[in-house]
Subunit: 520 residues, 2 copies
């Protein structure tokens, strides 16, 4: 009997997982150009009926685990140490308190409606799983502007330290590259690499790509910016003078220029309207009393029937038993909790190290919009806190939140040890360098250094004890315990990784439950 | 006596116009990197008190004229043939009737909330004047997505006719260009053009720019797309196989690839939330009874004290006298109205020709979002109606309006003469080519060919009678009559041109009024 395309694909999917189904769909020509698809949950509806699972940690990994487990009929409890869901998915607003492990507290004082996503702030259009949850949970999205040709690049060592507009750096670079290649081809230097016909076509292409003039020279173009914009009456445009390739090589702007091209950072990017935390709050609403807030885990034990989790509730010891546990806590916190994980797991977790990513955010008048045509996007500086990240939210509102410095604290020598005051001074100086005269307009800063944020103590996993072998250890179950979170994925530091790892954990648990039921 | 910086700039501005002030500000280092500024209105408050001006045409040129004249105290009347403001700034929604000069009527039938901007649909971040009006009139803006790395390029003559994702075309092209240039430099072909040090730095730069591998080859990169995206557990990313430079030359995707780099089309672009016509309606609200709708102009006469304009009101002849007239009608309409314009003006207007830009728009499920990661942006096809323009509004809503074909009707041989049915069939076929299987999901099309739209009969000026000399004629006043609109600017087809020409007309009138008052 013939099988339909859909049947075929479903069977391939079941047998080989997502990768195999995807490859087959490509072969069949059904899906030649899709970027990414969520690995489908394989388990059938009702799989979880009568089975208890406890989820540890209410970040995206824990929330997705609980949400998918609930859908499958499991009896789920999620323990979260904080009084809010989301973990690193956290939007700072007026009144938000950023508390560090050393007791330092900063209370944000911003105008109502202004906010900054202190953790993840972007949803790539290729992060199918997270976008799917936004659709499913009704979280409205808007564009997160990751690409702006009006934002800036700055290097003290080039162009007299004056910032260069990205449209100029990007387009002048392409122009010079085109001119050089055109000359090399015309000079016969690549006769062995291209057919005569392709050489001719390459030269025509480079004339457009540069663009080059009739003599094959790059002399600037509107793409690279105008000294005077075209206008009414007699006002004709005057193109900018191009930067020389020598200056561009001095500047070495390459990181900032090609930033927008990385797979994860390509337009179109999105963000929830009103703050990234709209996502965890939407999960939390769907989960209701499944989430127990203010419940830090104190021990993780294996039992003959599953797990027993000790925790605090209202400061008092409590415990919960379950058949399975999805542990979606950061390794930095997990390593401090007494547990029955196997020795290989413990070695990976104890040997792990965390990144120390940080953001410094300010409230300000939107001089970048009114005076610089910069609507969202990022400016990059070669030294000091960088990039400067302009808000995509509330375009044209009088005020907004701008980030000046989003990087690992260790990237700048001595930065980690600076006082908050000195960190703010360093941050303000960057704005002043890009936007002279405007540094003074910044007010009410907040510094969120994830290495010192309570319940995180790190921005994301940096190293696994035992390296890649360590990773391969902890992605498998340890008896009844399954780890989840971006740590358990190849998309570290992204919600997509957390969500996919959660779905994978739910699928693995369900396969085991199904097998146990069949055996029983 | 020393003059302050501000004084100096104001004086320069008055003497030399915007260009001179701008250049001086750059010299003073005050405004090193601004992209564009609106030419300030020079006239003083109250200048217009006691002076009557009649404005003809309620497109952006007419609306801005009336708005600025009103601010200066003029007694203004604006005559508009239609029952709505905006002219080509027109958003089609459920119930909108597109009426052609031959009597053809299409009534749009779309879900509430869906719309298509049938005329202008983009506000560049460098169109300072229009953005300024949006700020001033409180028109909320959102991003218009002009750049998307997930949108497509298609050419029957290349890649077996299969669409190529823009991220692949753009990044594979850069990769091959980098490899070829790196090889030419290493082979000594450019020793005369670059110092030894710069050659070494160029090779390092090209390694990043490509990116190239250790042997200087371009072998693909995540930037160009992935066969399999990274995921949880063991799912590692698999990069796509690069397209060869030969295939890319066959495809000649250059126009679509570099589209986003043109001055007017660079990110960040914006649009009013809810439709571009939010702008004319905001002007109309500010102008109140100044706008007289349903009043087509029938004659334009000069008198000893100014102008006398004949028009219809409720189908009956009427007339209005004024000291000055700002005529912001398209030349295609103006040339049919009996008038007292001077012979040189008449020659330019009668000898002018209009573009025939058109849009075909459909309502559809958003398969481009769910199945192709395409959120806004444009796909380009080498033949037939193109580009396909995906909506930036209502991201993730179940349905949306997609344009399949936005071009001058004459671009495609035989297209202009096609019936609406055949135009729709040609448009649908383009979607099917880019998104196989989805052509059938398109419904309720509308074709807006501006060449046949009543009261426009053309999309924008294409040629002036007498060429550039003709342009230089009509930008000057003809006695009491001042022309305005994008036609009277170097930014044809953009609202910015219309707005700047209007502000220029208001300034010219005000200078004359001031002079007359001083003399009187």
């Amino acid at each position: 009997m013939a099988i339909s395309r859909r049947d075929f694909l479903t069977r391939v999917g079941q047998a080989g997982g997502y990768g195999a189904a995807f490859a087959s769909m490509q072969m069949l020509g059904i899906m030649p150009i899709k970027g990414a698809l969520a690995e489908p949950i394989q388990a059938e509806a009702g799989t979880g009926k009568g089975t208890k699972v406890v989820v540890l940690g209410g970040g995206i990994g824990g929330l997705v685990s609980a949400y998918e487990l609930k859908k499958l009929g499991y009896e789920v409890t999620l323990l979260e140490a904080r009084e809010r869901p989301g973990g690193r998915n956290w939007s700072g607003r007026n009144g938000t308190v950023v508390e560090f492990t050393d007791g330092t507290k900063q209370t944000i004082q911003w105008e109502e409606g202004n906010y900054q996503n202190l953790g993840p702030a972007r949803l790539p259009s290729t992060h199918w799983t997270m976008l799917g949850y936004c659709r499913e949970l009704g979280v409205p999205l808007e564009v997160e502007i990751n690409t702006s040709r009006s934002s800036l690049l700055q290097n003290d060592a080039a162009n007299g330290g004056k910032p260069v507009v990205q449209r100029q750096a990007i387009n002048d670079t392409r122009g010079h590259v085109s001119e050089l290649l055109s000359k090399a081809i015309a000079g016969g230097g690549l006769d062995g690499d291209l057919t005569k016909e392709d050489r001719q076509r390459m030269i025509e292409f480079l004339n457009y790509y540069g663009p080059l003039d009739k003599t094959g020279k790059y002399i600037g173009a509107d793409r690279a910016g105008l000294k005077v914009a075209p206008g009414a009456g007699r006002q004709v445009e005057v193109p900018d003078t191009p930067l020389s390739m020598h200056t561009l090589l001095d500047a070495s702007f390459w990181g900032g220029m090609l930033y927008e091209e990385n797979w994860d950072w390509q337009a179109t990017m999105m963000q929830p309207v009103g703050g990234m935390d709209r996502i965890p709050y939407a999960f939390a609403k769907a989960l209701g009393p499944i989430i127990q807030y203010g419940c830090p885990v104190t021990e993780i034990r294996k039992t003959s029937t599953g797990v027993k989790i000790g925790y605090l509730k209202g400061g008092k010891p409590a415990a919960i038993e379950a058949a399975y546990c999805v542990c979606a806590m950061p390794f930095s916190i997990l390593k401090k909790i007494p547990n029955d994980l196997s020795a290989p797991f413990k070695a990976v977790i104890e040997g792990s190290g965390m990144g120390l990513s940080s953001k410094t955010a300010w409230e300000s008048k939107r001089f970048w919009e009114t005076d610089y045509n910069i609507y969202g996007g990022l400016s990059f500086l070669a030294a000091g806190p960088s990039p400067v990240w302009y808000p995509s939210a509330r375009l044209m509102h009088p005020t907004g939140i701008v980030v000046a410095g989003y990087m690992d604290e260790r990237q700048i020598p001595g930065y980690q040890a600076l006082s908050l005051e000195n960190k703010f001074a360093a941050s303000r100086a960057q704005i002043e360098k890009l936007h002279p005269g405007h540094g003074k307009e910044l007010r009410n800063p907040v510094f969120c250094g994830w290495g010192r944020v309570k319940w995180n103590e790190g921005s994301w996993i940096e190293t696994y004890g035992g390296g890649p072998d360590g990773y391969n250890t902890v992605i498998e179950p340890d008896g009844p315990i399954y780890l989840a979170g971006d740590t358990i994925s190849h998309i570290v530091g992204w919600q997509e990784g957390a969500a996919l790892s959660a779905r994978r954990a739910v699928d693995m648990i369900s396969a085991k439950v199904k097998l146990a039921k069949a055996a029983g």
